[in-house]
Amino acid sequence: MSSDLGMAERVAGPEIERLIQLLARLPGLGPRSARRAALHLIRRREELFEPLADAMQAARERVVVCGTCGNIDTVNPCTICRDERRDGSLLTVVETVADLWALERAAAMRGRYHVLGGTLSPLDGIGPKDLNLASLVGRVVAGGVKEVILAVNATVDGQTTAHYITDLLAHTGVRLTRLAHGVPVGGELDYLDEGTLAAAIRQRTAF
């Protein structure tokens, strides 16, 4: 009798199984969707699979963390830090690179960024030393920055971090601002929590 009786039988060779296993580790993919993705890649070998493999290989070899802002790019300093058209007096502090990309998609800010690499979180044991804070202070103290925008998440950890940074930069004299809290586009007042509504009323603007 086979020792692996009861286990799902393999339907492909070990290389394909390995590919499926690795794809299943990606965010948003489970074993079933990873299997579909793998099959899709194999079917479109020349137009997708090979370029993807090449792109991944190139990215793996060249991706670096920007020594100035903590962004990830293939050059150091990153493309944003090198861009001379950007306003160097405006520094936006974000938690992660994903947040930086989100703000760039919005194209609402043409300044520079600083990526903290997370938030202060007593629950997870993340303290100030675990974040990219020393370099933030260094950048502000070095001069040229007039305003620091604290674009951290509207969560308890995010706002605790924002207040910590406010204290940290208080002596520098730069203008410290944070993102407004309020009604999201498509949001219905009836479903909003009282705190957000109160914040939206407090931060109302002329119409």
Partner: protein
């Protein structure tokens, strides 16, 4: 297994792409964790924030399982808490203190105290004194309660100004005078006087008192350091009071 209870959210941790593990301090089921499926959705993100009150239903096949929560927000004050550094420090400290309690062990009196203190978190004139009392409550619930009602030496309930660092009992001015260097100060707002608006100095003395017993009886025996959020809260409170 299923129950329904009210609770205050004290912690939220991401779990996978869409879910979160919520840590609730409930009235009848103590500090209790559970998975909230879809907890990272837009609808639930605002509800699942520390300091919010919720009505929660917990379900699991077996009692020892993590189980899943379905929650409905009842008092959503997290956004207000986020506007104040003191309040944020307060909820972080409350969470750190409540994590000293064993999971799923009901502490109804402490829950009642919690509902009062979270309501006052943004009031910097009231919250610090409540926090000191909350720490005394934690000590009491863990079996290390202080007796601040009468003098350990004379039995008198008048003019109590010291606390014995050994027994945790109050000592009157007359009885404790000769030993004042070795005794801890008992601020008036914790004594029988129940001062309504304690000064920052009294609050700091209150925190020094609880600090001694928390360290000696709770943190050190468990091999833990005092949480950094506590020092940060006290520092913030002093700064706000002096501003």
């Amino acid at each position: 297994m299923q129950w329904r209870d009210e609770g205050v959210i004290i912690g939220v941790k991401r779990h996978g792409e869409t879910s979160v593990i919520v840590e609730l301090m409930t009235r009848d089921h103590g500090r209790h964790l559970g998975l909230v499926r879809g907890g990272r959705s837009r609808r639930l993100q605002g509800v699942l924030q520390p300091a919010n009150n919720v009505e929660a239903t917990w379900r699991a096949r077996l009692d020892e399982h993590l189980g899943t929560y379905t929650v409905e927000g009842t008092v959503l004050r997290a956004a207000e808490v986020m506007t104040s550094a003191c309040a944020l420090g307060g909820i972080n400290l409350i969470a750190a203190l409540l994590r000293l309690l064993p999971e799923r062990d009901p502490h109804t009196a402490l829950y009642e105290a919690l509902t009062v203190i979270v309501e006052q978190l943004t009031d910097v004139g009231v919250a610090p004194a409540l926090m000191v009392r909350f720490e005394l409550g934690i000590l009491g619930e863990l079996g290390f309660g202080l007796d601040l009602t009468r003098c350990a030496a004379t039995g008198s309930s008048a003019d109590l100004v010291f606390v014995s660092p050994k027994s945790g009992r109050a000592v009157s001015r007359a009885a404790g005078g000769p030993y004042r260097e070795r005794l801890l100060a008992l601020p008036p707002f914790l004594g029988n006087g129940s001062e309504r608006n304690p000064s920052a100095t009294d609050i700091v003395a209150g925190f020094a008192l609880t600090s001694h017993f928390l360290l000696r009886d709770v943190f050190e025996p468990r091999g833990l350091a005092m949480p950094s959020v506590r020092a940060a809260y006290i520092e913030r409170m002093i700064k706000t009071a002096s501003a």
